[in-house]
Symmetry: C2
Subunit: 88 residues, 2 copies
Amino acid sequence: MARVVVDVMLKPEILDPQGQAVQRALPRLGFQGISDVRQGKRFELEVDGPVDDAALARIHEMAETFLANTVIEDFVVKVEDEKAEEEK
Amino acid sequence: MARVVVDVMLKPEILDPQGQAVQRALPRLGFQGISDVRQGKRFELEVDGPVDDAALARIHEMAETFLANTVIEDFVVKVEDEKAEEEK
């Protein structure tokens, strides 16, 4: 079983009121030096079987037709490597 | 200017109705072989100045106090490398 991540973000030219709200709140809360915030969605999919090119193509199609609204959103499909990141 | 990403996901033991709704909809839409879906939030922060240990520590604190609800959510702070990913 493998994990595939689909990140969905508003396109850069689309206004992001959620991100703006976060960005404006930061100085009030004592956090300086963040010039922009964009907020999007992250989907973690547990895939049965191998994540080969065919599986990735299917997930790409799924993201395009279902997880993202490609009129206003971009998406990125990533195969998650085993916890290489800093984790809290 | 550098980009730092904060991924916020519900803890594994917390029920995720959004993710479940997506997972249940997939077979109906013709996508088989996805055994679980979790949906979370992705914040992209544009940081003024260098992303050194001090900046990362501040962002970690910001994520902990403000972007994530650590009672029910886990978060991961990542410095984004320059578009190494498949992008649509």
